[in-house]
């Protein structure tokens, strides 16, 4: 049996964390291949549906990356996302998805190394947790 390779969905804002991811690239900072990035304009547009959908479709972890508080391109969209997350996490936990599988981090546009670091650590966390039950269960 091959080793468990987690499937990570990262939903990140265009202005900060997506730019940080690009910077990690231009700086050739290697990080685990497991992450798949979806670009949002702002974490403020992060709909609970997206997170739930990702887990139901078998994602082992969902990483949300936005601007640091005070730096949001749209003033306070990041704070709205931060406010939404605990409610979503409470629902997920009810059905056995550990809260560690959903993470929100602020990564500024200049923080390429931080992006690398957070993603690497998050992938390792999820690897240690093992596969999400949804990844193996048949979700109908």
């Amino acid at each position: 049996m091959s080793a468990f390779e987690p499937k990570i969905i990262a939903m990140v804002c265009n202005w900060c964390t997506y730019t940080a991811a690009d910077l990690a690239g231009t700086s050739r900072l290697m990080y685990p291949h497991n992450v798949r990035i979806i670009r949002l304009m702002c974490t403020g547009m992060l709909d609970a549906k997206y997170v739930l959908k990702a887990f139901l479709e078998g994602a082992d972890g969902v990483f949300i990356g936005g601007c640091h508080p005070g730096d949001c391109h749209y003033i306070n969209g990041n704070l709205k996302a931060a406010r939404r997350i605990p409610g979503i996490a409470a629902i997920l936990e009810q059905f056995g998805f550990s809260s560690e599988r959903l993470e929100l981090k602020w990564i500024g546009a200049s923080e390429g190394p931080e992006f690398q670091e957070h993603i690497t650590r998050f992938v390792e966390t999820i690897r240690a947790l093992g596969p999400s039950q949804a990844a193996t269960a048949m979700i109908l």
Binding site: L52, A82, R83, Q94, I139
Partner: protein, 370 residues
């Protein structure tokens, strides 16, 4: 709605017929022109099952039977239909605590206004599922009076009511007190706001001391309910603690969306699951099938329930009507009430407690720190 610190209790005589006592009380509001209309659960000539009704004629008020242990739906929805705009008419609403909670949430969601309304809240021993109520009503022509007398009948209330700990009416102008009261003799009327005080003051009721044993009765009921609730939560957790178990839990779901139609705080004009967002292109379904090897149709059942939780769990008033209407008898409310409880705890939010309490997602300048 401001609470009075010193609660005065007035009493209605019931003469072994609490239904008549309450309807006479409401009738006086109409005949004395203290209210233009009363929205209250009432029996129509067609069925023993009480349905929400708007009564303006004092002659018709005897149909009112708010104490009957039945509620085919959460009447907040019906209340909204007459409170959408200011009407200039004074409307008295007789509601259960969970209905008041829903109404308060709906005001926050700008679905109605309470400017014209006076809320009379009933202390609630619960409601029976409609088929059970009809069965008991056939056996017992005076079921309302019997219900408050007979603990056996009280045990026949629905699952959500058995675990309800918020059975006293908050955010009501006037409370109808039945718990710990000898309902065959009298029922308590407790004004809880200045508006309630004003209204009750005009009805010439006699004031009285608290019934002995009242406090104990409330405490006992709360203890029992809390124990039952804890037990139910554990049982539900055991049935839903993995997503696979939850899929089994909702396996019979038909995607009929009755639960969301019955839900008083699912206020959307059109559920997102009925929109093009979930009207997938055939290719999407084929891709899903190809990925998993097999998919069940209709699609998105689990997604529907989780999304509905994400939308309304913070506002869930625990009325249980979602379970009552499920054609597949899925205990929808058991899991929604449990998740609601968890979400509400995290945000420090109690739905329906106070009109001034902002809904949790609206207060984003203070991120939640866990």
């Amino acid at each position: 709605m401001e609470k009075n610190s010193a609660m005065t209790v007035f009493y209605l005589k019931t003469d072994k017929n609490p239904k008549a006592g309450v309807s006479a009380f409401l009738g006086r509001m109409l005949s004395q022109s203290l209210a233009d209309a009363v929205l209250v659960s009432a029996r129509t000539p067609h069925s023993p099952l009480p349905m929400p009704a708007v009564i303006t004629d004092p002659e018709k008020i005897e149909a009112a039977d708010p104490l009957a242990p039945a509620a085919p739906f959460n009447a907040a929805r019906q209340a909204v239909s007459i409170l959408r705009h200011e009407s200039g008419r004074k409307i008295v609403l007789v509601l259960r605590p969970c209905e008041i909670r829903a109404l308060v949430e709906l005001v926050k969601l700008k679905q109605c206004v309470l400017d014209d309304a006076v809320i009379i809240g009933m202390e609630c021993r619960g409601r029976m599922e409609t088929p059970i109520y009809l069965e008991k009503a056939a056996e017992n022509p005076d079921l309302t009076a019997a219900f408050y007398r007979d603990p056996g009948l009280q045990d026949a209330v629905c699952a959500s009511c058995r675990i309800c700990t918020r059975f006293l009416p908050q955010a009501a102008d006037i409370a109808i007190r039945v718990i710990g009261e000898p309902t065959d003799e009298r029922i308590g009327i407790v004004p809880q706001t200045p508006a309630g005080q004003d209204l009750v003051g005009r009805l010439g009721l006699s004031e009285g001391p608290d019934s002995p044993g009242r406090e104990d009765a409330v405490a006992n009921m709360r203890d029992l309910r809390e124990q039952e609730r804890e037990r139910a939560f554990q049982e539900t957790a055991g049935k839903t603690d993995t997503i696979e178990k939850f899929q089994k839990y909702v396996a019979q779901c038909l995607n009929c969306y009755n639960c969301r139609v019955a839900c008083p705080v699912c206020y959307c004009r059109e559920c997102v699951f009925l929109t093009d967002v979930f009207a997938h292109d055939p290719q999407v379904l084929m891709r899903r099938a190809a990925k998993k090897g097999m998919i069940k149709l209709p699609a998105d059942t689990t997604m529907f329930h989780l999304t509905r939780m994400a939308h309304m769990a913070h506002a869930c008033v625990a009325c249980g009507h979602c379970s009552s209407v499920c054609p597949s008898h899925i205990p929808v409310a058991d899991i929604f009430i449990k998740v609601g409880n968890e979400v509400q705890k995290r945000y420090g939010y109690e739905p329906g407690r106070d009109l001034e309490e902002p809904m949790p997602l609206m207060v984003y300048d203070k991120p939640v720190v866990e």
